[in-house]
Symmetry: C2
Subunit: 339 residues, 2 copies
């Protein structure tokens, strides 16, 4: 049950633990330790299966080589892919990540943040809930390096990694309009969510630019869930005014809407066209592959990591950066030209 520590090794070879530490950290030359001693230590450490104690090292160094990553929903492929890339990039730099899932719960987010700070993580990558302003303030108050992604918090100066929601949405809506659609539905997320607000604003802007009016029943805000997409779609399709196209604000809503459309006995894209935010694996699996707005997931992850590490490494006061990435309209086959 006894674990090998520096002292164990030091005692056997009859040197001090400083010497052992220096050797095992490859600093023996700098400290003028003879090759003979160094070799003895190296060999013995291997024989004893010595593994450094990171908690001790962290305490002493005031650095844990740990990054906290907080997302809203780990089961959403958008986030799980982000996590995958973030983990990979950070691991390559010697960091470990602690992943937290808020499930869009503000209290939970707050408590997770406190826990991460208690653990003295070297930085936090956070996909905040819109109302997270106070939680975020705590992080800043503690001077913990922070990168926010996927959500803009009004009035909160910080480093951000975001996509250009406006351009992405407008490209999609204009594409629909170019195909002759005039009755376009918007099914979005929480009305206070920044992504949703921006996407909605862009939708309105595009419609306005084309002098198209928006039927008031054609806008549904709600949760980013399958159910919301499904319910909204069926409600609209069962009303007397039936639109020709749908725009959905995320992958879950899109899936729900598709299902709703199909359950109403309508075909995509023959009866209804649809475009949504987020690409995902099964987008190509529906009877007609879905046209989507792809977010550059890997790039977002890498940018977030790079931004964070630049804060972690240097104590410099770079001005806050917002990395605004472009989306891509992936045209498949879920819209129909009705001109």
């Amino acid at each position: 049950m006894n674990v090998t520590t520096l002292q164990t090794i030091a005692d056997i070879i009859n040197v001090s633990r400083s010497t052992v530490s220096r050797v095992l950290n490859n600093k023996w030359e700098r400290y003028g330790i003879s090759r003979v001693t160094a070799d003895k230590i190296t060999v013995l450490a291997k024989d004893l299966n010595y593994l450094k104690n990171d908690t001790a090292r962290s305490l002493r160094e005031k650095k844990t080589f740990t990054i906290g990553v907080i997302v809203r929903d780990i089961t959403n492929p958008f986030y799980s892919h982000i996590i995958k890339f973030v983990e990979r990039a950070l691991y390559a730099k010697g960091y470990t990540i602690i992943i937290c899932n808020t499930g869009y719960d503000l209290d939970r987010e707050s408590s997770l943040i406190n826990s991460l700070i208690s653990r003295r993580v070297d930085g936090i990558i956070l996909s905040p809930i819109q109302k997270s302003i106070e939680n975020i303030s705590i992080i800043k108050f503690r001077n913990v390096p922070l990168v926010l992604f996927d959500c803009n918090i009004d009035g909160m100066k910080a480093d951000y990694v975001l996509v250009d929601n406006e351009a992405g949405t407008m490209e999609a809506i204009e594409y629909l309009i170019s195909q002759g659609h005039k009755e376009i539905v918007y099914i979005g997320g929480n009305s206070y969510d920044s992504n949703n607000r921006l996407r909605y604003a862009a939708y309105r802007k595009s419609m306005q630019l084309a002098s198209l009016s928006i039927h008031k029943n054609y806008v549904k805000h709600g949760r980013y869930t399958f159910k919301h997409g499904y319910d909204s779609a069926t409600e609209i399709l069962r009303s007397k005014n039936v639109p020709t196209a749908f725009f959905t604000a995320n992958n879950r809503i899109m899936l729900g809407a598709c299902k709703g459309i199909m359950d109403c006995g309508l075909q995509i894209p023959d009866d209804i066209s649809i475009i949504g935010f987020d690409d995902f694996e099964t987008a190509t699996m529906l009877p007609n592959p879905l046209t989507v707005i792809r977010q550059p997931v890997q790039e977002m992850a890498l940018n977030a990591v790079a931004l964070l590490l630049s804060r972690v490494d240097k104590t410099n006061n770079i001005p806050y950066v917002t990395s605004l990435l472009k989306t891509e309209l992936v045209i498949r086959n879920s819209t129909k030209d009705i001109n």
Copy 2:
């Protein structure tokens, strides 16, 4: 930039840090500290935003309240759901989880395990690759509590959380047979993977029990990927012997196979029936909702957590436990009765 420590508080109130520690850990009564002092300390700690330093505590207590969770592919919904439930359950018990993604890479798994042990995690939940035996030995050698899930390693005694692959597969195959299918394809994962081996064996057994022969081109082992499913399905469907039903060993393969079937111009379930392992969100989204074998994800997660914590808490030597959970055949509409 200075952080509040116990000493900071102690100095201001003129007590020792022991006293502060005892108060903040709610042990002041036990140590006979007056309520007056206790209150002063509590109030001041709040005023100064004191947050305990977990690295220090971990070092002293030889306990980190951290659990490592290693999965093969975090972007697979099966694992991301497991993680979600594991995280939630452990968080409720005061633990934080470090998530690692091996991507089916053995070296990476080894290196991740070492890193977790260096960090002195209190336990590890591992979804191993089949060849992980040496990696696992390291964990056992270090005496780190361990639960393996989703994969059985031959000859490795340990705590396991598994599903009953045999019963689950047989139920599915027998269901197909009961519908009159005789030509049933098996598209599986890596031939050395225990899940795949068991599922394959069960498939053979069911076929044999029904006195059905297995065409040698009707068995495809490979990677657990969309591509493998797609390629296998199209290859088989383009050959001269066309089967009537497919069995697929996981969600990714199933999706690929479905796409392959559709791309060959065939309909599910009219032309081809299909059943696969793993339930997933989009299973209901295809033209015809997919009949699948559902693994009890939440139960698996909770069992793994419970098992692990029982090892962490007590130093007792409970004999190894294998928690074998039942699957459920979720009948939707991807198979056709051809009797």
